[in-house]
């Protein structure tokens, strides 16, 4: 520890290094999230955003989740459509991630990497607009259907359109989360199995797939945590008919400016996605223990 010859001076430096980030995250971010929680327990008082009163109540939660089943429906739709999109994303992410880590052809590797990073960095507005015009009544897909002699299909506003859009948003993230774990699977094991007479396909299913399973689970959970918080894709591809929790929070708030009510919904969404992330964390630490 020659960097820290003097223990107390080392501590002082450490405090200095962490201070800026701690300031931003503890005071502002944690502060904002705590305030959100407190606000969700306040009674709505029209005319102001943040309510200041000493008394706390569960009324907002009761209003949304105690009297009606409508919001359970929104929550269920969020979990369901997000889940479908997550499974599809990981399923198509795996072959791409596998090819990127295993191909010997540099040009192919570079092309696939470029497509992957591009699709990650394309602006969200561009992504959703592109799918709106793909799936619109006079869009590319319906144009192709019409020229083949089929009837037009109304996509926008359906769960299918939202799921396709979500896959487009989530797929690059699922792939990037898989590249590391697949890369870490020892390639000599696969080759050994192949040399011993197993088909490459069999070697893949016997060795690579099981060994990359922790990575698959981690990628799935990360993707799912992000899927349930989707906002832009369901907003436009769902046409307001198939909205998810994020959309409900935004739409209800922009109609009524009821901040405490919105806070209650936001807390529910936050707890949902943090529970998924907590599962992710458990999987990751278990994996480290298992291999360390």
């Amino acid at each position: 520890m020659s960097l820290d010859t003097d223990e107390s001076s080392g501590r002082r430096w450490l405090a200095l290094f962490l201070a800026p980030a701690a300031l931003v995250f503890v005071f502002l971010y944690l502060g904002a999230l705590c305030l959100l929680f407190v606000q969700s327990l306040q009674i709505y008082n029209p005319g102001r955003i943040v309510q200041i009163s000493g008394s706390l109540t569960l009324q907002n939660y009761i209003e949304y989740f105690g009297r009606t089943l409508v919001y359970y429906g929104f929550l269920w739709d969020t979990l369901r459509i997000g889940g479908i999109a997550t499974v599809i994303s990981v399923l198509i992410a795996y072959p791409l991630a596998y090819k990127i880590t295993r191909t010997q052809r540099r040009l192919l590797k570079k092309t696939l990497l470029t497509v992957l990073v591009t699709s990650f960095f394309i602006n969200s507005i561009v992504k959703v607009y592109s799918w709106v015009i793909m799936l619109a009544d006079t869009g590319l897909v319906n144009g192709a259907l019409a020229s083949l002699g089929y009837d037009r299909i109304r996509f926008l506003g359906t769960d299918l359109a939202v799921a396709i859009g979500l896959v487009y948003f989530l797929f690059p993230i699922a792939t990037m989360a898989l590249v590391g774990p697949i890369n870490n699977v020892d390639q000599t094991l696969e080759q050994a199995a192949a040399n011993l007479g197993a088909a490459n396909t069999k070697a893949f299913f016997d060795i690579t797939l099981p060994l990359s399973m922790p990575g698959i689970i981690a990628s799935t959970l990360l993707t799912y945590a992000l899927a349930v918080s989707s906002f832009i894709a369901p907003m436009f591809l769902g046409s307001g008919i198939a909205p998810m929790m994020s959309n409900i929070i935004y739409l209800r708030y922009s109609e009524t400016f009821n901040y405490p009510g919105g806070s209650a919904l936001a807390v529910v969404l936050l707890v949902t996605s943090l529970s998924i992330a907590y599962g992710l964390n458990k999987v990751l630490t278990k994996r480290l223990k298992g291999f360390g």
Partner: protein, 272 residues
């Protein structure tokens, strides 16, 4: 053995078909948008377009909502990236080079805006700013964008810093350089490519954000993405396509910079 070869052949064909389908799935929508942006027709209609026109680009440039939005986006993105990068360098150095209790907790806390739903982040900051009396939307956007972009700089710079062991820093210090000199002359040059990649990452995410900014922007300062979002709530006419092509220009710039700074394979390896 024949059997194995046939199985492998089928496996190969299946993987190749899946890859081709994936690449088409990823690229076709964007190509459609590029085509629509040059479409002379005033409505969304079947492709291909019957002619070529720059009218939607003109319409984009004539709309002050978009030009002002672009200016705000560049200001907010530039300033918040600068702050996040400095914050990220310091935090990464503390997290990677020191041992202390609660390190893992602090690390996940700094990365938490990646997992917390963006709408929740925006909505909660709206409350905080309202309580603290931060009324100027540009200030609100700047602070919020530091929070949502710092995780990206911290992640990228930490990953780079882990790759270099501390022996170089120790050597400099044993040769008499003090801590500040060592940091500036040894550490910073070692991690500068990671810093550039992290900064590009942060700027890209700032430019992209809608879900947080939509709660904090107002008529005085609003970003391009938020204004496009608002515009799309009433119409999908091809001005949005023209804006999309402009934004794709940014995307390619980001990718070029990241490729030059750290290489795409390394960048993808860090993950999200």
């Amino acid at each position: 053995m024949y059997f194995y070869r046939i199985v492998d052949l089928f496996g190969k064909i299946l993987v190749t078909a899946a890859l081709v389908a994936t690449v088409l799935f990823l690229t076709l929508p964007v190509i459609t948008t590029i085509m629509i942006s040059f479409d002379p027709r005033a409505y969304l209609a079947y492709l291909p377009p019957p002619g070529f026109s720059l009218r939607w680009y003109e319409s984009f440039l004539r709309n002050p909502n978009f030009t002002n939005g672009l200016r705000t986006s560049l200001i907010v993105g530039g300033v918040s990236t600068l702050i996040s990068t400095v914050v990220g360098i310091f935090a990464s150095y503390g997290l990677v080079r020191y041992k202390f209790r609660g390190k893992e907790t602090l690390n996940s806390f700094f990365l938490s805006p990646l997992i917390v739903p963006a709408v929740v982040t925006g909505f909660s900051l709206l409350g905080l700013f309202s309580l603290l009396g931060v009324r100027i939307s540009l200030e609100r956007l700047l602070i919020a964008h530091v929070i949502i972009t710092a995780p990206y700089t911290i992640r990228t710079i930490s990953a780079t810093l882990i790759g270099f062991d501390r022996s170089l820093e120790e050597a400099a210090m044993s040769l008499g350089a003090n801590r500040v000199r060592t940091f500036l002359d040894v550490t910073i040059p070692m991690i500068k490519f990671g810093v550039v990649a992290g900064a590009v990452f942060a700027f890209a995410m700032s430019l992209d954000d809608v879900s947080v900014s939509i709660f904090l922007a107002d008529a005085f300062s609003s970003t391009l993405s938020v204004n496009l979002f608002a515009y799309m709530r009433s119409t999908f006419e091809p001005t949005v396509a023209a804006a999309s092509v402009l934004l794709m220009g940014f995307t390619f710039g980001f990718i070029l910079l990241i490729e030059r700074a750290m290489g795409l394979d390394k960048f993808v390896g860090i993950g999200i």
